[in-house]
Amino acid sequence: MTGVRILVIDDELAIRRFLKIILEAEGHTYIEAGTGQDGLVAAATQRPELIILDLGLPDMDGSVVLKRLREWSSVPVIVLTVKDSETDKVALLDAGADDYLTKPFGVPELLARLRVALRHKQSAVAEPVLRIADFQIDFTDRTVSIRDELVRLTATEYELLRILAQHAGKVVTQRQLLRDIWGPQAVDQSQYLRVYIAQLRKKLERDPSSPDLIITEPGVGYRLRLVDEK
């Protein structure tokens, strides 16, 4: 992964210092802003390729920053959240954030999220086939195989897997999945997802009770895990 310009919007000096070290060690260019307003200005003037946005900003709510940002930019945004603020996380993901990190987080998680976010951005052309270790999904002829064996999936199961695969590595919110598969009237029917995810796991996972591929993001949604995250 080549170095990119990354903007960090966070009011806490300690976090910014830590992120600066890590990001620069990975070869990225580090830009920082301490307030939402400064962040928006920096985003407009410095044109970063990825933004790490903290939610607890002093002057404006993180969600407002995101909203303003999304009015004119589709730059990938990873939000930093505090544990227990589920509603914030989900709301932000629905509002256009690409992924989230729960504080306190370690470096591997951070780098994994970065990689995923940047990969999706960089690949402008969608790949027809996605391979993750033993798993393979072919979007063109709509086939899925695991350990070189073809897997039979129902239409809904495929659809669910397809969405997750298209966002491979990123979290997809429960709401989004329900809305895209079953329609807007089903956004609260989480039991649908549970059933189908369970079925998918049974068919795809080596050990369904300890999934490697389809990961539950508690309170948020699901994510198809990429190899380098392990």
Partner: protein, 896 residues
């Protein structure tokens, strides 16, 4: 032997109490005069103006200027509180606005005409009650009063002037006054004023009023007024000297006693006794002897009034029960060391006197060894009243006479049949038997009537010669007369026995009720039961509705309804209740305050504080009898003591709880401090080691140190999370975000997050197929399970197998976490989930909060968690969650 002078301790105590009271209460200054027109109001206003010049806050409560210009001029500059309008019988009248003055809280208020009677509907029946309330509230009062209105002087004035005095003020009020300013002018001057038209005669601008204003009468009044003022001054002086222990002329040896009854003479006797007592400077008591004779309502009212008069005039009331009046008086006299007794000269009733050994007076004099007897002549004015009382009684039993007549007729007929067999003597016995039988049912009048009638019938119809009242033989005459006497005596005696039995029965019932109530009070467990103990039982003795108001936690009266009463108090009644509570005085029906309220409100005064109010709404509206009043006050006292005890217990419980939470707080503080500091110490230690370049250059050391920092950081994170959860759980502000989840998924996510802590253990999952979904808060439940697993990992050695099993049983889902480690010590099992509980001897590393939080979270989801030891060894935690009705599943679709 002459005793060294010792001031009477009672007097000293009274003086001290008076001083204390004076410090808080307002001071009363009475502008006193012999008659209307001497210039009392004028003097009062002049003094008020002076006060105002000095800077005192003066308001006018009520002042009657009667249009006199000079008096009106003095009102200028004083703030006047507007009077309250009250409607009585469609007339709008104005009264002094007591509440307005109380809320205004001036330093001094002017209240004219102390003897004035208030309009019904005002708080108190008399203006002097209003003044007392003002004084109790700490407000000084100036007022005016004529000598004729003083209670103890009323009779005298009536005698001297010939007018009837209708409004009076008790002498206690004069004693309460700090200053009595006599406004004195010569009668000649007053008469001149009258001529000049400067005197307001009121409604009585008639002949009687003009008779009043005659020089000799005015002189007499002046003397009475002067004497009264002198007496009061003298009294004050005595009070002051007694307190200062200087040699005073304190005659403690005399004690007066007067017998008080329902007799209308009693009033005069009481007043006379008071005068005598005052002159002798001696205490006096009034004794009421309850002979068991039932009194009519009229008599009861008179008795109550007489006893109230005694209290007003400053005497002590003693009630005793004894069929023999003389013995009772003697007994009380002995007990109280009475030296002088006051009695009225009795009317002579020859027959009765002969029978009973002389009049009451004679018997008293004969038996009295230790006291003198003063005999006073009865007051002429009151004798008319006596006759009226006498006549009223018998008429009410008209139907009884009819019955007696019928029975006599029946017996006569019976006698007629039996006469040939038994002879006319025996017929007499028949009549006697009839009289005896009748006396069991009817009152005295009809019985006496029956006795006489039967004698006549017997004489006329049966004793020869028949058909006449004449009696031939002498033996028959004696027999007839003897019969009559026997009938009369036995009839009245039987009657008396019956009444006495009745009285005893009522008395016994009352005592029984009181006993029952006290027993219930003692056995009551809380305030509600205490209140109910009274309200449910009093009705049988004193019929009516009862309710109890108790003091709330802030100290004010609470409108808390006692379960079981159907009486809901109206707002007006509630106001009276609050007044009784605030002022510590009885209020409502049959008291001096707001007597037109439908109920009586008695404050419950405990040993150290006010605890509530007992409210009683009578069934009938007659005046409250003395013994009923006594019953109520006994009950009030008992209730107050019990309630206060209860309140104190509550308070001590609260104290204990407070101490308990203090202790808990300390524990938490210590525990948290330790839990946070421990990982922090490791982090700082390891990090600073890393800063050492030598150590940092070795990759293995670097790895080890950084691992330690990460591990301890995670541990710190855990502790913080747990603390937050704990505070949220205990505050009850935990908002669950419940959603349908698979328990298997939850467990695997949890295990994933606990990878490092469980790295040394062998974890086996046994999740049943097709388990129903559960509606839980994923994050919280994950936290609960994490804490549980962490606990298992901490207390078992590495290498231990941990089994996690999930299955459905009927209506619930069971999650079991078991290990094959050492298990939980038996003694710890009941306490394991308690906050801050650590198994004794366990390795440090937890604050003891983890399991408590797990339990809290499980329970908030409606589930349960238990712990036990497996028979095969090791501990087993079992979480049971209720299975809710499953939601609608999606339609299955076909394969791809």
């Amino acid at each position: 032997m002459v005793e060294p002078f010792r001031p009477d301790p009672d007097a000293l105590l009274a003086a001290i109490k008076k001083e204390e009271a004076d410090a808080h209460n307002g001071r009363l200054r009475i502008f006193f005069g012999m008659a209307a027109g001497v210039g009392k109001t004028y003097a009062m206003l002049r003094a008020a103006q002076e006060r105002q010049q000095e800077g005192v806050d003066v308001v006018v409560g009520t002042v009657d200027t009667h249009g006199r210009a000079e008096t009106e001029a003095l009102l200028v500059g004083l703030s006047i509180i507007p009077r309250k309008k009250l409607t009585y019988r469609d007339i709008v009248l104005q009264e002094m606005d007591l509440d307005a003055i109380l809320s205004r809280k001036p330093q001094l208020v002017l209240v004219d005409e102390l003897a004035h009677t208030n309009v019904p509907g005002a708080r108190h029946p008399k203006r002097w009650h209003d003044v007392l309330e003002l004084l109790d509230a700490g407000i000084d009062v100036y007022t005016t009063l004529n000598v004729q209105h003083v209670e103890s002087r009323k009779e005298y004035v009536e005698q001297v002037t010939g007018i009837t005095v209708r409004e009076t003020v008790p002498d206690t009020l004069l004693q309460r006054a700090c200053q009595i300013a006599l406004v004195d002018i010569t009668p000649a001057e007053l008469l001149q004023r009258l001529k000049d038209g400067k005197v307001y005669l009121g409604e009585r601008a008639d002949a009687a009023a003009r008779n009043f204003f005659q020089e000799d009468r005015l002189t007499a009044l002046r003397e009475i007024a002067l004497r009264l003022t002198a007496e009061t001054v003298d009294n004050e002086l005595q009070g002051l000297t007694a307190a200062r222990k200087t040699t005073g002329s304190w005659k403690t040896s005399e004690r007066l006693m007067v017998a008080v009854s329902h007799s209308p003479y009693s009033e005069g006797l009481v007043r006379a006794t008071r005068r005598l007592a005052f002159n002798l400077e001696a205490p006096w008591i009034a004794v009421n002897v309850d002979t068991g004779k039932l009194l009519s309502k009229q008599d009861q009212t008179t008795l109550t009034r007489n006893l109230a008069l005694v209290k007003e005039l400053g005497g002590e009331v003693v009630t005793t029960a004894d069929p023999d009046i003389v013995a009772a008086l003697q007994r009380v006299a002995d007990q109280r060391r009475v030296t002088q007794m006051v009695v009225g000269r009795p009317t002579r009733r020859w027959l009765k006197d002969m029978l009973f050994g002389g009049t009451l007076l004679d018997r008293l004099v004969r038996k009295s060894g230790t006291f003198d007897v003063h005999v006073l002549r009865p007051d002429k004015l009151l004798s008319a009243g006596k006759w009226k009382t006498r006549l009223k009684g018998p008429w009410s039993a008209l139907y009884e006479y009819w019955w007696v007549l019928d029975v006599m007729a029946v017996v006569a007929l019976l006698g007629n049949f039996l006469y040939p067999v038994i002879g006319y003597h025996s017929v007499g016995f028949l009549f006697l038997l009839a009289i005896l039988a009748l006396s069991l049912f009817f009152s005295l009048g009809p019985i006496l009537f029956g006795a006489i009638l039967s004698a006549l019938i017997w004489d006329f119809f049966f004793i020869p010669p028949h058909g006449t009242f004449a009696i031939t033989t002498q033996e028959d005459v004696i027999m007839c007369v003897a019969y009559l006497v026997a009938a009369l005596i036995t009839g009245s005696l039987t009657n008396r026995i019956r009444w006495r039995e009745n009285m005893l029965r009522i008395r016994e019932e009352r005592t029984e009720t009181l006993y029952e109530i006290v027993r219930a009070i003692v056995g009551a467990r809380d305030k509600g039961e205490l209140a109910r103990a009274v309200t449910e039982r009093m009705g049988s003795s004193l019929s009516g509705d009862y309710t109890v108001f108790l003091r709330g936690s802030e100290g004010g009266l609470e409108k808390d309804y006692v379960a079981g009463t159907t009486w809901i108090v109206s707002d007006k009644e509630w106001a009276v209740a609050k007044w009784a509570f605030d002022n510590r005085k009885d209020a409502g029906w049959s008291t001096d305050t707001l007597p037109d309220a439908g109920a009586l409100f008695l404050p419950l005064v405990g040993p150290t504080e006010m605890v509530g109010v007992l409210a009683y709404r009578p069934k009938t509206n007659n005046l409250l009898m003395q013994d009923e009043r006594n019953l109520l006050s006994s009950v009030c006292r008992q209730l107050a003591i019990a309630v206060e005890r209860e309140l104190l217990q509550e308070r001590s419980r609260e104290m204990q709880q407070l101490a308990e939470s203090e202790r808990l707080y300390q524990t938490i503080l210590n525990s948290v401090s330790h839990e946070l500091r421990t990982p922090l110490t490791a982090i700082i230690g390891n990090a600073s080691a890393l800063s050492n370049s030598q150590i940092a250059s070795d990759p293995d050391s670097r790895r080890q140190l950084s691992d330690e920092i990460i591990k301890n950081g995670e541990r710190l994170n855990r502790v913080v999370s747990n603390l937050l959860d704990m505070s949220r759980l205990s505050s009850g502000k935990l908002s669950l975000k419940r959603d349908w989840h698979e328990i298997g998924d939850l467990i695997s996510v949890m295990l994933d997050s606990q990878k490092t802590t469980l790295s040394g253990h062998n974890v086996v999952m046994r999740i049943a197929e097709n388990l129903p979904l559960v509606r839980v808060d994923f994050q919280l439940f994950q936290q609960a399970l994490s804490n549980l697993l962490l606990n298992v990992a901490t207390y078992t050695a590495p290498g231990t197998t941990v089994e996690i099993e999930a299955r459905a049983t009927g209506r619930s889902l069971q999650l079991a976490v078991s290990d094959n480690g050492p298990g939980v010590p038996e003694a710890s099992i009941p306490h394991l989930f308690e906050m801050f509980y650590r198994v004794p001897g366990s390795p440090s590393g937890g604050a003891g909060i983890g399991l408590a939080i797990t339990k809290g979270i499980v329970e908030v989801h409606g589930g349960t968690i238990v712990v036990g030891n497996r028979p095969s060894g090791g501990a087993c935690f079992t979480i049971t969650l209720p299975i809710e009705q499953q939601p609608q599943m999606p339609q299955d679709d076909g394969s791809l």
